[in-house]
């Protein structure tokens, strides 16, 4: 019945030494830092194609069961802008002079903030969405996260289209510094991803983290000059200055309207810090997430 095994099989894989060997042991990956870094880079490389496929899948599937489809991307920033525009124009809330027409100010701030918050929550959400796959299929654990971040970057970028009518309506001409805007915008995503990667391991185990961020996110938004200009004095001024997001957001907004660039040096420092933080978060992710997924339930 099993003649097959007796036949000489012509197969390139017959040469034992060429086969890659995967070893699983209980040891922490940190026991061998060189191997750890090699594995991390390899995982990143291996996940390129998969991340792209997952990204395409998510984009396609996201709005497949929806009539308005991609239009939903635009509603949250529009809603926030309208709310704050009326709060401000009706005098319910008095926002200090913003230098540019208020709707444009709020819209830019909201879009940048949304990109930051979305990217912070994305690693947890992306892994939770992929849970059924993660517990059953072997693939680079970082792939859904990459797909998620790419998705955030692109969908948020698509939202920027909203700025066109707002600028026209406000009669505002963009400054030449707009060419730097993508950098400022990506810095917001980077900042969010870096913080997100740090909270992911715990956030996957305990939903408390995700819930807390939803609520704290609202506080954080008002602790950041999103809908009001940076405060110069008082408690709020103090909070604004301590908040690293302030500088990146302010600079991002400044690139669109041509200044002021007071926050630029701090923004660069924060972005560099975020980059280092992301590397650390990536390593923590690589070491802990497989363990955490084990516990997520099979």
């Amino acid at each position: 019945m099993f003649e097959a095994t007796d036949k000489p099989v012509v197969d390139h894989r017959q040469t034992a030494s060429t086969l890659p060997v995967t070893v699983y042991t209980p040891d922490s990956p940190l026991t061998d830092p060189k191997r750890l870094i090699r594995e991390m880079v390899k995982e990143l490389r291996d996940s390129r194609e998969l991340a792209l496929a997952l990204f395409r899948r998510d984009i396609k599937a996201q709005f497949r069961q929806s009539i308005l489809g991609y239009a939903w991307l635009f509603f949250p920033p529009i809603a926030t802008t309208i709310v704050w525009f009326f709060l401000n124009s009706s005098g319910v809330v008095k926002v200090a002079e913003t230098g540019i027409p208020y709707p444009a100010f709020v819209m830019i701030g909201t879009l940048l903030w949304q990109a930051f918050l979305d990217s912070m929550l994305k690693p947890i959400n992306a892994l939770n969405m992929a849970k059924s796959m993660l517990v059953k299929l072997k693939f680079p654990r970082i792939a859904p996260v990459i797909a998620g971040i790419v998705e955030i970057s692109l969908t948020s970028a698509v939202r920027l289209v909203l700025l066109v009518p707002v600028f026209l309506f406000a009669g505002l001409a963009p400054s030449w510094t707009i060419v730097f805007f993508p950098i400022g915008y990506l810095a917001m995503v980077l900042l969010g991803t870096a913080l997100g990667s740090l909270i992911t391991p715990v956030g996957l185990l305990y939903t408390d983290v995700g819930r807390a961020i939803q609520i704290l996110g609202q506080f954080a938004m008002y602790a950041t000059p999103v809908v009001y200009p940076i405060a110069t004095a008082g408690l709020l001024g103090w909070i604004n200055r301590l908040n690293p997001v302030t500088y990146v957001l302010e600079t991002g907004r400044a690139t669109l309207v041509g200044g002021p660039f007071d926050s630029l040096p701090m923004a660069l420092a924060v972005t560099a810090g975020a980059f280092l933080l992301l590397l650390l978060g990536w390593m923590i992710f690589h070491i802990t997430v497989p363990r955490v997924i084990e516990r997520m339930g099979m």
């Binding site: 099989v9 070893v23 185990l205």
Partner: protein, 427 residues
């Protein structure tokens, strides 16, 4: 496929050139926690320990090897070791919760072992859960691309193989329809097709064959057989037929412990005996004895143990209060796989059988009994002709053991009597 001599035992194939170990499992254990909240907390502490212990981990782990279980923990896989070479197929059998899937998940790298070491050579294809990772909103084709890249195929390779995958899965009309419109069988076929299209060095299959229809199972069997020439296969199945047909060795798992059998059938019978120990007559799916008036009592007597080709003598004592005219008695035998392997009844017997008031003895012989080694359970019933209303209804009411001195080929329960076998030329 008549085979009733002891020498019919299949041997593990000699390896020669194929003597290449692809899977090496060395004293592997996995600890799980029953309490979900505690499990989450242990996950947190384990992750933290991985992060801080760094290079001292090796010493710690040596100590860890002896670490006592924490509250709520148990060994899902306990000190398992084995090796698998190219061209071999290992059948992993055991009752639910014995640790089979956990072991496969460790081999596939989905979960880390808590003790021991696993070495996997080459590409690993796995079908651990059926339809895993299929997005219900996407079409079959889109899902093939996603899943195949999950399994490590490059885009070019996928394009190369997509027709073959669709062809094997037999879902041509549905390939561009969302997967949520697929039947579960279609999803399994697609999953199996993708997993095996990978040309894996090691193939891990968990309960794949159980779901498909007969035609598909046959195809799977062929595909696995083909893959066997170039892969090492581990197959988890509750279908002893398939284990017996495909595998050259079995591993029986029980509460995380593993016993290896180089003789497939020895493993299967070990598992079967284990099952009968575990199933008390009163348990679900166990003994049913129902006697309805006018029958007062019915006692079935048959030998506990009988040798192959001997006569099985069945005696049944029946007490009735009234006369019951034209009764049909039936006696059937089931093997461990709940397969009906023998059926005997009096419906075609000329004349009628009546039960009279008082005690009487019904006896019959099944001679010769052509059943293999194993434990068999019997059903007995009596009813009036033309009525489905049984007056005696005994389901799995008892068992007897057959000793034939050799093991069955697979789980095939009944073999034709070949005592008159001869082979001679025809002029």
């Amino acid at each position: 496929m008549t085979n009733d001599t002891p020498s019919a035992k299949r041997e593990t194939p000699s390896h020669g050139l194929d003597d290449e170990v692809l899977v090496r499992v060395d004293r592997v254990s996995k600890i799980f926690c029953r309490d979900f909240k505690k499990s989450l907390f242990y996950g947190l502490t384990d992750s933290a320990r991985d992060l801080v212990s760094g290079s001292k981990q090796n010493e710690r782990n040596t100590a860890n090897r002896e670490r006592p279980l924490r509250a709520g923990e148990f060994c899902a896989v306990n000190d398992v070791s084995f090796e698998l070479r190219r061209g071999e197929c290992l059948g992993l059998i055991g009752r639910n919760g014995a640790g089979k899937t956990t072991l496969l998940k460790m081999l596939n790298g989905l979960i880390k072992p808590d003790k021991g070491r696993i070495e996997m050579h080459g590409r690993v294809g796995a079908l651990i859960a059926l339809g895993a990772g299929f997005n219900p909103l996407l079409t079959g084709r889109e899902n093939i691309y996603v899943n195949a890249s999950v399994l490590g195929l490059t885009k070019a390779e996928i394009e190369d193989k997509i027709d073959e995958i669709i062809d094997f899965a037999e879902i041509d009309d549905f390939i561009d329809a969302p997967v949520q419109s697929y039947s579960s069988g279609m999803q399994v076929r697609l999953g199996f097709a993708v997993a095996t299209a990978l040309d894996p060095d090691v193939l891990l299959l968990d309960e794949v064959l159980a779901v498909g229809d007969a035609a598909f199972r046959h195809k799977c069997y062929h595909r696995i057989n083909k893959l066997l020439s170039q892969s090492a296969v581990i197959l988890v199945s509750h279908s002893m037929d398939y284990i017996a047909q495909i595998c050259q060795a079995t591993a029986v798992m029980k509460q995380g412990k593993m016993r290896l059998f180089h003789d497939v059938n020895e493993g299967i019978s070990t598992y079967n005996y284990e099952n009968i120990d575990a199933s008390t007559p009163e348990s679900d799916g166990g003994k049913v004895v129902a006697i309805y008036p006018p029958i007062q009592e019915a006692t079935v007597r048959l030998p506990e143990s009988i040798r192959y080709r001997q006569s099985l003598d069945v005696k049944i004592e029946i007490t009735s209060t009234e006369t019951v005219h034209d009764v049909i008695f039936s006696f059937s035998v089931f093997n461990q796989g709940e397969q009906n392997v023998m059926m005997w009844n009096t419906s075609r017997r000329p004349g009628t059988l009546d039960l009279h008031p008082g005690n009487q003895l019904l006896s019959f012989k099944i001679d010769p009994l052509l059943l293999h080694d194993g434990i068999y359970r019997w059903n007995f019933s009596a009813s009036r002709r033309g009525s489905i209303d049984h007056c005696i209804w005994m389901l799995r009411a008892g068992s007897f053991q057959v000793e034939s001195g050799f093991r069955p080929l697979g789980n095939i329960p009944y073999i034709a009597d070949s005592s008159s076998l001869e082979l001679r030329p025809i002029r």
